[in-house]
Structures are given as structure tokens and as C-alpha cells.
Subunit: 375 residues, 2 copies
């Protein structure tokens, strides 16, 4: 077993033919012990079918054992048929694993508005289930990729008493990434023994400073999903609050931030990794609003691509357009050398003491190419 994996988790990924490229496109994640699950979904008003299925199962069930996820088809804007398809896939997986259907969660990413090729999924499932193993997580990680150029994983281990707790996560995402659960799938697994409430609060806190702080194109997906499975196999004393929860939250935040930054580093067509730090705001919400306003501005992003000193004006215009009442005389802007691959932009508003950090990429010919050709 890879040392990075928490106890009791396995995975596998196969090529079911959902993608025309015939690459890996169907992933299965499995926990040998029942796992509590905390989840976050897109705030897009249009939600893909798998999200609706997950919401339903999460509301009426307490422990989960598996997650089946596909790329190549978002199963979104597919109506009642799409909902039935998502449930059917979960049901087939449950049967293959000897589980109840509510113990299997589902996720999809890919093209919107097309029906899932059910027959292809069905015929790939026996192989998918049979191949489950700890090291199979590596192919599961690849099977959720769409325009990603590389798989994304991160882990963190820490001690609680004399027990070792591991948090391991995989993510996919490189475009349609906007704030409010950046458009992505992220599945995190831990062997921590933790209360349901603590699990939820830790995930919310970690996501707010990671997935909700990245933007590629400001486009919010219909399929964004972050799920955190905790199966308790580390046998630590139950984490419910206090210092233990702090430790867990810090570890989880670290894993989430690394995954979120990986998404930006792999952003569609990106040539730069840009950090936008806004300080001197009246509150965090205001700081984030200005930071995202800058990070999402196409004019800022193209100037970054060109390493153009004219970026100053574009930062000013984007900050001013963010709906926060700025004072030109108090606004201070600084940036690190523009020709580098990693650029930091600092904007001080002079209105208060709150700050926020947002990560983004530049807008390049390649972004246009990738998104014009993706179908």
C-alpha cells in the first residue's frame, strides 16, 4: 500500500468508452469500513443529476461505502432520465459490491446536455469492481480528468495521541473554475474517527480558504462536488472539537489548499500562477470580492499573459468595478516581476484590516483553443 493512503480505502479506474478518446473515464472509490461523508455542491441553480442523487442519499443515510464517478459526460440538463440514469449506475455498483444502493454515491463531469451511455457503463462495471485495490486509486484519479493535463493528489499525515491519521485527496479541474466551490470534483478520504458535525465544519472551513478562493474563468459549473469520507479505521479518540479538531482542520485545509493550487497550476492554457492578495478591507467578504474581481477580469488576465506593465490600470479598473466603494487616494498596488511564472499582486484598500487571497491563471491563446475545441 502507498504510505500516502488512509487505512481501508481502495480505488480503480477503467476506460468505459464514455470519452471518445477512449481514455480512462470511470472511477470507483471504496471504503472497506462504513464511512461518514461530508459534502459540498455547486451553488449553480442548475445542478447535475448525480448531485441530486447524492443530496437525497446523504439526507436519508448515515454511512457510505463507495463513490462511482465518471468523466466525459456531466449528466446535467438531462431531466428525469438523467436522474434515473445516475441512480441506475449507483445501483449497479451497489450490486457488484454487495451494498445497499444508498451506500453508493455518484459524481459526473464532462459535457452538459447529453444522456449517459448506460450500456457502456454497465459493461465496464464488472472490471471496475474486480480491480479495486489500494494502488488502484492512481487510475481512479486519472479517470476523473477532463481537460486536466495531469492527475492531482495530495495527502497529509499527523498524530492524534499514539494514532496516525491520514488525509488523502484527489481532484480534477482545470476550466469552468469559478468561486463558490470552484468547478471541480474533489474526493478526500481519511481514516480519522471523527463526529459527523466536526467533519462537516472542518470541510466547510477548509473549502472556504481553498476551493472557494480559486478562479480560472469565473465560470461556475453545474457539477462541482467536494466529498470527504471518514471511515474511522485510524482508531483515534473521536474528534469532536478542541485541539484535536483544530489539528484535523489544519491538516484538511492543507490538503485542500494543495489540491486547489494544483488546479490553478494546471488551468486550461495557463502560463502563469497568479496570487492576488487584497488587504485593508473592511471585512473578508469585501476583500474576497475585490480579489475575485481582479482575478476574473479578462483584461487583467491577458495583460498577465503578456507580462504587460499596463496591468496596473487593469487592476485599478477591475478593483473599482467590484462593487466595493474604493478610495483612489488610499488604494495601493504592487506586483512582483511580471516576466516570472509565478506572480503575486498585492492590493491594499486602506479601508480596514481584513484580507483575502485568491489564486488564478492568465488568459492565453491556449485557453481559447482548448475551450473552442473541447466537445
Amino acid at each position: 500500500m502507498k504510505p500516502s493512503l488512509p487505512l481501508g480505502f481502495q480505488g480503480n479506474g477503467v476506460a468505459a468508452g464514455i470519452k471518445r478518446s477512449l481514455r480512462l473515464d470511470l472511477a470507483l472509490f471504496y471504503s472497506q469500513a462504513p464511512a461518514k461523508v461530508a459534502a459540498l455542491f455547486t451553488s449553480n441553480a442548475i445542478k447535475a443529476a448525480p448531485l441530486k442523487v447524492c443530496k437525497e442519499y446523504l439526507a436519508r443515510n448515515k454511512y457510505f461505502r463507495a463513490l462511482v464517478a465518471n468523466s466525459g459526460n456531466a449528466n446535467c440538463f438531462t431531466g428525469k432520465v438523467g436522474l434515473a440514469d445516475a441512480k441506475q449506475i449507483g445501483l449497479w455498483v451497489a450490486r457488484g459490491l454487495g451494498l445497499k444502493k444508498e451506500e453508493v454515491l455518484v459524481a459526473s463531469t464532462g459535457i452538459i446536455g447529453r444522456r449517459m451511455p448506460l450500456a457502456k457503463v454497465k459493461s465496464a462495471l464488472p472490471q471496475l469492481v474486480a480491480g479495486l485495490s489500494a494502488k488502484g486509486i492512481a487510475s481512479a484519479k486519472k479517470a476523473i480528468m477532463t481537460t486536466d493535463t495531469r492527475g492531482k493528489e495530495a495527502y497529509f499525515k499527523f498524530k492524534l495521541g499514539n494514532k496516525t491519521v491520514t488525509i488523502y485527496g484527489v481532484a480534477k479541474g482545470s476550466g469552468m473554475i469559478g468561486p463558490k466551490v470552484a468547478t471541480m470534483l474533489c474526493f478526500i478520504f481519511t481514516d480519522a474517527n471523527i463526529s459527523r458535525r466536526a467533519l462537516k465544519s472542518a470541510l466547510k472551513a477548509a473549502a472556504d480558504k481553498s476551493f472557494n478562493c480559486i478562479t480560472v474563468d469565473g465560470c461556475m459549473s453545474t457539477n462541482d462536488t467536494v466529498m470527504l469520507f471518514a471511515n474511522g479505521l485510524a482508531k483515534n479518540d473521536l474528534i469532536e472539537g478542541g485541539r484535536n479538531l483544530d489539528l484535523f482542520r489544519q491538516a484538511l485545509s492543507r490538503v485542500c489548499l494543495v489540491l486547489a493550487q494544483m488546479i490553478i497550476r494546471d488551468a486550461e492554457g495557463a502560463s502563469k500562477f497568479i496570487t492576488v492578495k487584497v488587504s485593508g478591507a473592511r471585512n473578508i467578504r469585501e476583500a474576497k470580492r475585490v480579489a475575485l474581481g481582479i482575478a476574473d477580469s479578462n483584461l487583467f488576465k491577458t495583460a498577465m499573459f503578456a507580462s504587460s506593465p499596463n496591468v496596473l490600470g487593469r487592476i485599478v479598473a477591475a478593483a473599482g468595478a467590484s462593487g466595493v466603494g474604493l478610495d483612489e487616494d488610499k488604494l495601493k498596488i504592487a506586483f512582483s516581476p511580471l516576466a516570472k511564472k509565478e506572480v503575486e499582486v498585492k492590493v491594499a484598500l486602506g479601508r480596514g484590516r481584513a484580507e483575502a487571497i485568491v489564486y488564478t491563471s492568465d488568459l492565453t491563446y491556449k485557453y481559447v483553443k482548448i475551450n473552442a475545441e473541447y466537445n
Copy 2:
């Protein structure tokens, strides 16, 4: 005199050297009779110096005679020095024309954060003033262009009683175009005899259905300005309300819509002119929000560039992300053939009876190129 021009207006444009390209960059518009002025400015929190000067003069003065406008430098984020510079330029023009300084309005567009080259402007002014003529409006129109590939003008004539009223406008803008006074300069001149109040209300109504309905990149400028000069030389009975105001408003709306659409047709790097019609909304604000959400989505715009059928999913995702509570089952989407230069997208929300139309362009390699290289 060109038949399209209202009585008593003249213009001129010269190359003052503000632009490195040495193209026309300084424009003067002049009314032989005192004119009432209605104006709209950007809602960006950071406003360029000329806008502040105009606001001050508009608040304390009733009639105006001239407008000096430059391209190549936005005179924005230039602090107190920028404010003094804008006033100085207006003062020089006023002296050259024998006017009071408050009778001359100022406007700028171009790069943000650089000081105006005052000496260059000063030495170009005598030539600018001396060359004023009705046909000189043509060069004034060119002198306000930045990344525009062509000058933009529109006019409309109509009868009020036995008098002919003319409305003529020029505009510049092709990028940094977002809603809330699309990022642009637009100067409109009419010989109508109209009350100040009617002038204002007509301009507001016309702008709401034209300049506030176009978007190239969702980026709101610091310099957006729409000004409407009315010098009364048509000698029609004073327009104050009723049918006459309706006629004036319709004519003005027509001129504004033509100019707004010209901006989109000349949008930076655009290969398509896209109309997004949203119907079935609960109110106009909601309809506009969804329409702009779609029109501003980079993923929608790149799919349009590629004429990709995958645009359906991107419309769904963008509509859903617009913050309006949509019902997937009621959402209806249709679009005209994608391979054409002009594409119409129709989105019916099934929530009510309000509708809105927004005009936009696609996102192309050329947009990135233009904005990466502009400096």
C-alpha cells in the same frame, strides 16, 4: 454641411502625439449656441479625472459649448495632478474659444495610471480650435478611437410640427466593455429644443436599452461617458413630455442602439455578433442578469468562436450561475445556426413574462492578442 448633422455643431480632430502611433488622438466638439447637457458616467468606484471635472461643471453650470476628448491616455488613477491636468486642458480650450472654463467639458480614454502629456496637448490646441468645422466632426470621431478598427456614428432625423430635429452621435469602444454604461465614450448632439429634465430622462431610457445591454468582456471601465448636447437650434416647440418626448426618446434610442451595436460589431477580435434574448423572467432585471451571465461567460464565448454544439451546456451552466433560481424542467434554449456571423440565442426561463436582450461578441485568439499587446 453633412445632412446628418444637427444645426450648429462643429468638430475637429488632430494628432497631438498622446498616442505613440501618432494617429489622431485629440478631439474637439463645439456648439455655436449654448447647449443643455445630460450625461451618464461609469459606475466604477474608481473614476477618471475628466469624469470628476465634468460632474463638478455639470453641477454648477447650466449651458455648455464644447467638449475636448482625447484617446491614448485615460487620465485615471493619476490623483490630484490628473484632476488639475484635466481642468488645465479644459481651460486652455475655453481660452482658445473665448468661453468660460465651466462651459468646456472633458473626456479621456486610453491607458490608466499615466500622467497626461500636457505640453503635447497644449501645442496641438491652436490647430485643433482653428480647424473646427461641421465636416471636421469626421476627424473628431476618429480621434477618440483606441482599439476600434473603425469610427462609429449614427443619426436620426424626425419632424416635430414643421421643424426638423436631428440627433447625431459618435462613439468609441471595442474592449473593456461591460454593462453599466458599457466601457466607451459616446457623444450625442441634437438641435432639439428640449427641457433639461426631458433630456435626462430620454438619455437614461435610451442608454438602458442600448449601452447597458452590451458586453464584450464584462470589464467595466473607469472612463465610461455618455453625453448628450442639445442646443435648441431646430427651434421646435420645447419638448417637455407627452407625444413629443416620446418621439424624441424613440429617435434617441434608435441612435444609441445603432452605436451600441456598432461597438459590438467592432469588438476586440470578434468574429461573431451574438444576440442573447432571455424571456419568461419574473422581471426585466432578472432577465438581464441571466442574459449578461451568458454573454459574459468565457466558456460560452469560446464555444461560439468554435461554432461548437457544446454551447448548449455552457448556456445552461452560465444561466444557472447567474444567481436567478432557475427550474431545469422549465428552461428552454434555442439558437440559430452557429456557423453564421450573426447568431441569436434564445433562453426561455418559464418563470414570468419579462424579457431582455443583450448583445455580445465571441472570445477569440485575436481578443487575447489585442489585449496582451495593447500598451
